[in-house]
Amino acid sequence: MGNAPVRSDTESTARAPFAPWDRRDIPGSFSVEETARRVGNYKWTEMKLFEALGGWVATVPELDVKMRLGTHCYHHAWHADLWHKRLPELREMKPERLTVPANEAMERFIEAMTEPEAPELTIEKLVGVYRVLIPRFIAAYTYHRNNTSEITDAPTIRSINFILQDEFDDWRDGEMLLQSLITTPEHVRRAAEQQATLEAIMVEAGGITGADSIGTGVTTTTEGGV
């Protein structure tokens, strides 16, 4: 402190608040309320997913699948926890109030996805998660990350970036398990039928946060922002 170097009058420390390489900007597509609504939908769906994965562990005979489901169960629980903690920061002091499905079709989707229980239905279980739901998560999170304000909503972006890393890794795991299990025309038929059934319900739902999940559908709520 006492021996600080003497600064010359010409050596200025004044710099622009944003470095030349920092192109982040204020405008974003979502208000605080709309962000909270989406985050509540994310939390509800991540919860349903980790509960389903946990429940299925005991129902699948394939040891490698059993262990992957247990691992991925925690990933989605962690995502749900991140969103649970984000909600009060978005002025929702009762997180459970917004921990809801986007709509009735989304609730129906989860019921249909979690219906298979028998030990010979591992393909159906994995198709629902890794070929329908997780791709929808990746889409909704990517849309949110790319459209929210990079400055005002940085905490959401940070969480989405961590979560997306998990989603991509888990999707890869699930897809590889499916490719190793689908070895006959009958398996192909079963996988395709299950995917078509669930995809139809998901289309009705419009995605994880409803019709506007990736910005292509009808805006359902208070989307606005700057």
Partner: protein, 287 residues
């Protein structure tokens, strides 16, 4: 998917053979020597798992396989508890959101333990399914009350895992197997966490419900006694492994609770010896 999942429906591939506690106790290979007259190198002199035991290799392989199938059931049990109950304040068959998160975390930990145990079993020359699988651990995870599950699985059975892993870690150390010792040490760290989860949630959820807490602790004692395998755990040389008191303290057990388990282990050993004595007398009388 059903809300509750019965133990008889646990999904396994064709290599696994399942059994229950009654069948296991009938197995002559688990019998204890009530006379204690065997030579120093024989199994009867000390049941501790040490490398100089003539059957050390098979005993260690069998124990490791038992650990592996136990981890599979612990994974399944944690997953079911994350699934089976609605989110709420802990009353009326609900569980707090954070308890569900802990169960999901435990599912991941148990999945890693299955991976570790499978690698260790392979390292020790054991085939998957080479030993029978006792499904009693998952049975303790089938209660309709989530707090009973935590008492039975997290406090009683994961507590037992602390004792067994401590034993196996020592075995690895004495046998000069750093691979085994390393793995057991890491699993031991996770188990202490799981037991602490059980202790913390038991106290928190039953803070205003002393009857429920009493029932849960009674259930824990039943499971503890069942899993003492008739005195397989205890301070006596006749017991296969000892109570890891220090780690249990770290996991939230009080001194009184540790003493109770220790006393129960001793009683279980004496009860079993008495049962064997009576059986031999009866067989002798019939002959």
């Amino acid at each position: 998917m059903r809300q509750f999942f019965p133990v008889e429906d646990l999904a396994r591939d064709e290599r696994f053979v399942q059994t229950n506690m009654a069948e296991r106790m009938k197995d002559g290979r688990t019998a204890i020597d009530v006379e204690k007259t065997s030579s120093a190198k024989s199994r009867g002199a000390s049941k501790r798992l040490t490398p100089d035991r003539h059957d050390a290799s098979d005993a260690a392989r069998g124990l490791m396989h038992g650990i592996m199938v136990g981890e599979i059931q612990a994974l399944e049990g944690a997953g079911r508890t994350a699934h089976d109950f609605a989110t709420g304040d802990g009353t009326n068959d609900t569980v707090p959101f954070e308890l569900k998160l802990d169960m999901a975390r435990q599912a991941w930990d148990e999945a890693r333990h299955v991976e570790i145990s499978a690698k260790l079993s392979d390292w020790m020359g054991t085939e998957l399914g080479e030993f029978a699988e006792n499904t009693v651990l998952f049975e303790a995870a089938c209660s309709n009350d989530p707090i009973l599950r935590l008492a039975g699985v997290n406090r009683a059975l994961e507590g037992l895992a602390i004792d067994v892993f401590t034993q196996m870690k020592e075995f690895g150390d004495i046998a000069g197997d750093p691979y085994l010792e390393f793995c057991e040490d890491w699993m031991l760290a996770d188990e202490v966490t799981h037991v602490k989860m059980g202790s913390d949630w038991l106290r928190k959820v039953t803070a205003n419900d002393p009857d429920r807490r009493t029932k849960a602790l009674e259930f824990q004692q039943v499971v503890d006694k069942l899993f003492s395998f008739g005195g397989a755990r205890g301070e006596s040389e006749e017991s296969s492994f000892s109570l890891a008191k220090r780690f249990r303290e770290l996991a939230g057990f009080t001194d009184d609770e540790v003493d109770t388990i220790s006393q129960m282990d001793h009683e279980a050993l004496e009860e079993r010896k008495e049962a064997v004595r009576k059986y031999r007398e009866r067989v002798g009388a019939d002959a």
